[in-house]
Symmetry: C2
Subunit: 254 residues, 2 copies
């Protein structure tokens, strides 16, 4: 048991964030240059990922990657699927790229997809404090909105799509949505986040009625200041209350 990389297994992280307007995902750039090191053959996007080490499990590997990229180590992380198509690395451009970086392009790699939710404000804090490598080994990490993402490496577009489906289902049954929000948030920000994830508008009054029934979303005696409109009340999520009050609903099937 050592800490060398296991060449057969990798993890890829789909890291979501919310900037109070839209849902974002953190992606890296991949560049393939001609041997002269200058002429660009192609450029596309990848999910942050890496092979696992022989002494770590999948979750630990994903945590490692997240920490390297965001400086954060207490963020929401969950494995959501494994991608094991025997030909998942077999596109010509991916084969070229593997050869170029000195890997055996015929080596089979299976990857576990991890799903992570991060409060963007915490990322920006690290970034503004210069705690993050500005261009991360030339891979230039950037937050992308989900509607115009360019070409992606390997099967990463599929992994991303699967993660998004997973997110949509998850927010309906587990209180994970709060992992994307700042500690205190307004009802509108909360509603908007549901709307951007689900891709549909929700009725404001009915939404707030449901919100009022969520005992674990507690309303603070604090309002927005300095906004050019009626200031909104802040709410926060209480995990304590959630754990105590979660309802064991029996629903047959929905």
């Amino acid at each position: 048991m050592n800490s060398a990389f296991n060449e057969h297994i990798s993890v890829d992280c789909v890291i979501f964030g919310y900037d109070l307007k839209s849902l974002k995902v953190l992606l890296l750039e991949r560049h393939l240059h001609k041997p002269d090191g200058k002429t660009l053959i192609f450029k596309d996007l990848t999910l942050p990922g890496n092979h696992i080490r022989n002494n770590e499990d999948l979750e630990t590997a994903a945590q490692r990657i997240l920490f390297e990229l965001t400086g954060l180590n207490d963020i929401y992380l969950e494995q959501f699927a494994v991608f094991s198509d025997p030909v998942r690395l077999d596109n010509p451009k991916d084969q070229k790229w593997l050869s170029a970086i000195g890997k055996d392009p015929s080596n089979r790699v299976i990857t576990a997809g991890f799903f992570s939710l991060i409060p963007l404000e915490r990322y920006y804090l690290k970034q503004n404090g210069n705690e993050l490598l500005p261009d991360w080994y030339g891979k230039n990490p950037c937050w992308h909105t989900l509607d115009h993402i360019g070409d992606m490496a390997f099967d990463h577009a599929r992994i991303l799509a699967t993660a998004l489906d997973f997110l949509r289902e998850k927010i309906m049954s587990k209180p994970v949505i709060f992992e994307l929000l700042p500690e205190k948030f307004t009802a509108s920000q909360f509603q908007n986040l549901y709307e951007v994830i689900l891709g549909k508008m929700l009725d404001k009054r009915n939404f707030r009625k449901k919100l009022a029934n969520l005992e674990f979303v507690v309303s603070l005696n604090e309002k927005q200041v300095g906004v050019a409109h009626k200031p909104a009340r802040y709410y926060m999520f209480s995990r304590d209350v959630y754990e105590r009050k979660r309802k064991e609903k029996f629903t047959l099937i929905t």
Copy 2:
């Protein structure tokens, strides 16, 4: 790309069945004998599993195992988790066993857990038709109820427990429960299956009211015959109706 086994990755199948009384899981026996081939060192239970082949993905490998074991190839199968603890094979008895069967006990193996639901009647049809190997290479496959399962190999007890949690969640949101029932079933059989999976009793009248509102569970004009009590009406699941009528409920969080 060839069909040799990949020594790094395996799949393990948690195969559930329902005999109209209780929930069962299909397990194999593992025996370790002294080199004399007679004295038994230990005997325990394993989930059916195997390494994947280099030319198949995880799902295909799981299907292969299921087919070998049940003769069925159109049954419900879903990956539910990956087990990647670096020390998952490191219990002394497992190490001994790996050595005894000629494997390198220090080789790391990651396994994907698959979750399968099979209508027991179909299994018994195959079995009674002598289409199944009676003792399956000495591993004596048997359906076990979940309350008294003995010692299990590797981390298989944990995999099984995780699968059971997964099942409990899944039946509340997707129509998978019908995969365990015969084609036609009575309301009581249906309710009992929920009860044994969830481990709690449900109110009969309320259950039937919900059942009546499930448009995709259609009531047949057919009753039990030959039972020593009032014969019950049969129902069946209509996947067609389900696909057309499934409700897109918005629930915030439950």
